[in-house]
Amino acid sequence: MPTTRGGIAAILLACLAVGGAAPALAQSDDPLGVGRKMLAEDNPGELWIERGKTLFYQKRGPKNASLEQCDFGMGPGKLEGAAARLPRYFPDTDKVQDLETRLLTCMVQQQGFDRADIVKRAISPGGSSGSDVEALALYITSRSNGMKVNVSLSHQKEYDTYKAGEYLFFRRSGQTDFGCVQCHGEANKRIRLQDLVHMTDKKGAQEVASTWPAYRGAHFVVRTMQWRLTDCFWQMRLPDMSYGSDMSIALTLYLNYQGNGAVIQVPGFKR
């Protein structure tokens, strides 16, 4: 089962216009590709966007405030294209942050939520109705749908973080001797029947940068990049990744930067 099928599905997903014409269910020598296309065109994850939107504009938390003053890098409340530029440096926290940690900052500072409590619930159980963070992350990213990934490096911390992310991608760790590159460094590879994204290739990096958050079919909920990294480390026989760790931000910055130019289309659809 070549990865080109996954690649084709990803490209189709990126080109898909919501509400577009029905696909020609023509005979295909790539039945998996046809199936993936069908799933991508009618993605239950889309129903999380409305949820995220409601949560974003609702006054919530001890401070009874909405997230409209949250600055994702383009000014308070400006969401159009903001996710396309993440991760990036933020002067108010003096840190490079990804979408989820930036969201966390605002939920804590502007809404008064307890950080540990949000983190505990950020990744929802499979089969649940999903977490607030998952819905919010999807909604905010969806406001960059149709736009190109546009991560840039200008602050010294962005340069440092990018290089750290690159180092981490290749770092072999634990009893599996795995770095990310062991599974994601070659074309047309798969683990069992799961195609592996070729991340050291431009197209693969672009898929990573433009399809998260995504509906994880087997879990019936929307999943985020933080979840994906956590799940990888689990399979690599490493300890629990800390949600929002600098390590996770560094890897995300490294990959998203490699993925520049990809057209964002979320929610993605993953198995």
Partner: protein, 211 residues
């Protein structure tokens, strides 16, 4: 006015840097930054934190962005790998292929979730994740070369049994820095378990050698 000039340099250069002349840090700085991130990036007990410490071979084999392995580095990895070999107490390197068959298809074991270690009798071999095994099996990976017909192609002499045992125990003794986990050397699998997998690969009766 040398002193005034020096003062200008002291004030001026930082000002230039602050003005945005940012650059990629050097390798040593990156290593320091990244290793700090690793030490802080996981919520873990000291027991599990050990998994994050790289051994010498892992350090060599963490080449960034396709940087080549030097002859010297390769030799060092091979040497360390050869020194790691441990054999079963019985001295018998070929075990039970039926157990090996089960282990080869088992991808679970030793994973950590919310601070708890996956409760299983023994760790799976993980082979099916990356290798094609018995003919006709569809749900197999291709990260590693196909092992279908392994014993048919090589026979089951003592020499082949030893080679096979060692390749599974520590693949880096033969292919330094290969993608394959050093499952015996890292203690993911026991020597006994590996003997069963050797049998699974070599025994003419094993499904992997069915035509």
């Amino acid at each position: 006015m040398r002193i005034a000039g020096l003062r200008w340099v002291v004030v001026g250069v930082p000002a230039l840097i602050a003005a945005g002349c940012a650059t990629f840090p050097d390798e040593a700085t990156t290593r320091q930054n990244a290793e700090k991130m690793v030490s802080e990036g996981f919520s873990t007990s000291p027991v599990f934190a050990k998994r994050l410490v790289q051994d010498r071979s892992q350090q060599i084999c963490s080449k960034i962005a396709g940087a080549p392995l030097t002859q010297q580095e390769a030799a060092e990895v091979v040497k360390l790998a050869r020194a790691s070999f441990q054999y079963p107490a019985s001295g018998k390197l070929v075990g039970d292929w039926k157990i090996g068959d089960r282990l080869a298809h088992d991808g679970a074991g030793d994973r950590i979730l919310r601070g708890k270690l996956e409760k299983r009798k023994e760790n799976g071999g993980l082979c099916q994740n990356c290798h094609a095994l018995a003919p006709g099996e569809i749900n197999v990976g291709n990260v590693g070369p196909a092992l279908t017909g392994y014993g048919l192609q090589r026979g089951n002499s003592e020499a082949i049994a030893k080679l096979t045992y060692e390749r599974i125990y520590n693949a880096w003794a033969y292919s330094p820095c290969s993608n394959m986990p050093r499952v015996g050397a890292t203690r993911h699998l026991t020597p006994e378990q590996i003997t069963h997998m050797v049998a699974y690969l070599l025994d003419p009766a094993s499904p992997i050698n069915k035509k």
